[in-house]
């Protein structure tokens, strides 16, 4: 197990009712920070957010919160919240802007009382700007960031041209918001200056959607019906789907060898990517017809041998038991009321071993003694 936890010694107080703020806390926790969730008496609403485990606990909350500590405390009536902030380096908060003052959570008060603290605000549209008070859920956010409009593409768009746009699975937009917020929060902490950091889930999604912004600057507006490589993509096989993408001529040549399409190898029109794309429909019809009788595993192996970039569309079971994933030990066992479950570590590591995720999820208020201790310390100080 890795001993390099880059955020060791950093203390974070997290007030999160949404995925983005909780994800920011999760990233810091798994990198070694002590993260203390402060929950309302009924527990964080994320504890009830699906998907649920067989025992009723939330798989989402398990994923986001394993290894964090939990105290029940409600500002502004509870002085213990302030006591927690005294020892904290970062406060993560997703309280809607309009509700902050009533809770004593307004940035001015926090800055005055805790001048060394990084107050990391994580809101759907940020804490500044004409839309700072707008509400948004995952579906709204993926469309506010621009990627929603551009999906689906390829085979799905071909099959269902008249359906509305389609989101990415799960909480993609909010997860991006959490990563960008954590990056901003840790960058602020790097300066050794307490400050207010205003992270926005929309901003994060606009950032990762930079391609469409640059394309616009270059004179074109991307659209889901055309935003696709003209051949390859999602290809159906006998027992599942593969992804095929050839960007370089040598990969194209490997594909032709694989398919035995010798006549195309000598076709001058197909010697570059633009020429091939112009005949994409014809090429794809051929590929789809050729691939449909293959078994996914055989086809991927044959493609790899020819240097053709291809991947199986992995289902969860493939990932949970994949040879590569097992070799890298990316999943860790966590004890829950439903028995042991697997939780993925962070997608990056600082040593050859993956980062530990923690043994269990704290019950609401499991670490209430943290407050008692802190309040007492303050009283005696």
């Amino acid at each position: 197990m890795t001993s390099l936890l880059p955020l060791s010694g950093i203390r974070v107080v997290e007030r999160a009712s949404g995925v983005a703020a909780s994800q920011a806390g999760r990233l810091m926790r798994l990198m070694g920070a002590e993260v203390i969730m402060t929950e309302p008496p009924a527990g964080s609403p994320l504890r009830r957010e699906p998907p649920l485990l067989p025992g009723g606990g939330s798989a989402l909350f398990t994923f986001l919160s394993v290894g964090k500590r939990s105290v029940i405390c409600e500002p502004p009536d509870d002085a213990s919240f302030d006591a927690l902030l005294e020892g904290a380096d970062i406060l993560i908060d997703d309280t809607p802007r309009a509700e902050r003052a009533a809770l004593g959570m307004e940035p001015e008060r926090i800055a005055r009382n805790y001048p060394d603290l990084v107050f990391l605000s994580v809101l759907p549209f940020g804490a500044f700007g004409p839309k700072a008070d707008w509400k948004a859920e995952e579906l709204n956010l993926i469309h506010a960031g621009g990627e929603g409009y551009l999906l689906p593409n390829g085979l799905s768009a071909d099959l269902y041209p008249d359906r509305p746009p389609l989101k990415i699975a799960g909480h993609f937009a909010q997860m991006q918001g959490g990563v960008a917020a954590a990056l901003a929060g840790l960058s602020a902490l790097w300066t050794n200056r307490g400050q207010f950091v205003d992270a926005s889930v929309q901003d994060a999604n606009v950032a990762v959607g930079a391609f469409a912004v640059q394309r616009f600057g270059d004179g074109s507006v991307e659209h889901r019906s055309t935003r696709s490589f003209k051949f390859g993509g999602v290809i159906e096989c006998r027992d599942g789907y593969v992804e095929l993408l050839t960007l370089e001529t040598r990969q194209w040549q490997g594909l032709l060898e694989l398919m035995g399409a010798d006549d195309w190898a000598s076709d001058p029109e197909l010697s570059d990517e633009v020429g091939r794309s112009a005949r994409g429909k014809e090429i794809n019809a051929f590929i789809r017809n050729w691939a449909k009788d293959w078994l996914v595993e055989d086809l991927v192996a044959a493609a790899q041998e020819k240097g053709v970039p291809m991947a199986r569309y992995n289902e969860p079971r493939h990932i949970l038991t994949g040879k590569h994933e097992l070799a890298r030990a990316i999943f860790h066992e966590v004890e829950t009321e439903s028995g042991p479950v697997k939780v993925q570590s962070l997608p990056f590591r600082f040593e050859p071993d993956s980062l530990p995720v923690g043994a269990s999820v704290a019950a609401p208020g499991a670490d209430q003694s943290l407050i008692a201790g802190r309040t007492a310390n303050r009283a005696t100080a």
């Binding site: 300066t191 950032a207 569309y313």
Partner: protein
């Protein structure tokens, strides 16, 4: 002063994911020196075919702010110079296939030999270890390997290909890991080798679904449906291809929405009184919302819903994003002036800081090798004759 001012990055990354990592670091204030060679320029610098059209991709966006030097890593003097550059850098970032840097003489041990506390950041498709670590990959393959592709899509349709957001998510994660490694260095005095795996980024984005699956719960493609919220979907407006997303997450919001769409009786209907009931009967509700939305101007309907406290947003194209006053006010979208005077919209820092308010991007795309006088002369202290000799010898090329 920007938060990462004073941090220097030797940037060996190419394509999309790695350069986006160093781009984020650059927007946060790091000095990023992009290392390229005319022998094989970053294919994203050249005009190349994307989606069947010849044209630039994201090079301008992710190269903004960066400095550029030429360096031939196939030449022993080029490798020596690369090591020298690393010796005065805090971070060395790369995105070749696992093992390539080592074969060039620029592996982690080589770099540590010239700078003991170097933070090396390696971004690759499948990580630095494991049986698939030699795989090359692109965004759609990361999404396929990681399960994000399988789980995205219509319930009755195929998986969905991931695009550049996948690459850039990897870059954002890599930037985060880099800053964490800097904190570690400050505390311990030690550098480290950060291993970022793109397929693991993809699977981490559906980490909750994988946890559920590990407990025997069946997780499948769900289209636009939410597992809890209803109504939740995209509704047509009076303008073609102008979709309005609405997601209701409380009983109050539901009653408000029912009133706005002119169907207050639905808000009182016991069949839809609770979240669970609305979710179970969600297919009955969508037609009522659609028959209202299809007669509405998208922007006005969205404003009205937000004003009443219902979560809504239009499905925005790039043309909406680059002109949005909110994103402009935040600096999330800004204008960049290129050296030829062209002004283009670009993406800025994805957060605001109370300690500074300067734009994330202050200079456009660097010319290939445009900063060699500064980097090789001022930073590395090579005199003009020495630089000219390296150029003549094609070590700087």
């Amino acid at each position: 002063m920007k938060p990462l001012a004073g941090i220097r990055v030797a940037d060996f990354t190419v394509h999309a994911a790695g350069p986006f990592c160093t781009h984020m670091l650059s927007q946060l204030g790091a000095e990023v020196i992009k290392i390229e060679t005319a022998l094989r320029p970053d294919i994203f610098r050249k005009s190349h075919a994307v989606y069947g059209r010849q044209g630039p991709a994201t090079f301008d966006q992710v190269s903004s702010n960066k400095l550029s030097v030429r360096l031939n890593l196939k030449h022993p003097d080029g490798v020596a110079l690369a090591r020298k550059l690393v010796s005065i850098s805090d971070v060395a970032a790369e995105s070749f296939r696992a093992g390539v840097m080592g074969r060039l003489g620029l592996g982690y041990d080589d770099l540590r030999a010239v700078r003991n506390d170097i933070i090396m950041v390696s971004v690759s498709s499948s990580g630095q270890s494991g049986p698939d670590s030699h795989f090359a990959g692109y965004a759609p393959l990361f999404g396929a390997w990681g399960g994000l592709g399988h789980l995205s899509g219509h319930p009755d349709g195929p998986p969905v290909e991931m695009r550049h957001v996948m690459d850039h998510s990897v870059g954002m994660n890599a930037a985060l890991a880099t800053v964490a490694a800097l904190h570690n260095r400050r505390r311990t005095g030690q550098g480290c080798h950060v291993d970022v795996s793109a397929r693991e980024v993809a699977s981490s984005l559906v980490g909750d679904a994988l946890t559920a699956a590990s407990a025997g719960i069946e997780v499948e493609r769900a289209g636009n449906a939410d597992l809890r919220r209803a109504p939740c979907g995209l509704y047509p407006t009076s303008q073609p291809d102008r979709w309005l997303s609405i997601a209701v997450s409380s009983d109050d919001e539901w009653r408000t929405l029912a009133t706005i769409i002119g169907r207050p009786e639905l808000g009182r209907d016991r069949r839809y009184a609770t979240e669970m009931q609305r979710h179970a009967n969600r297919r009955d509700l969508d037609p009522a919302i659609e028959s209202w939305s299809v007669g509405q101007s998208g922007d006005a309907a969205c404003e009205r819903l937000q004003k009443a406290g219902v979560a809504a947003h239009l499905s925005w194209a790039a043309s909406d994003i680059v002109t949005d006053p909110h994103l402009r006010a935040r600096g999330a979208i800004l204008d960049v002036t290129e050296t030829d005077g062209t002004v283009r919209a670009a993406v800025g820092t994805p957060a605001r800081f109370s300690t500074y308010d300067s734009p994330g991007i202050t200079s456009g795309t660097p010319e290939l090798g445009g900063d060699e006088d500064y980097v090789y002369g001022d930073l590395l202290g090579l005199d003009r004759r020495k630089i000219a000799g390296l150029i003549e010898d094609r070590a700087i090329y």
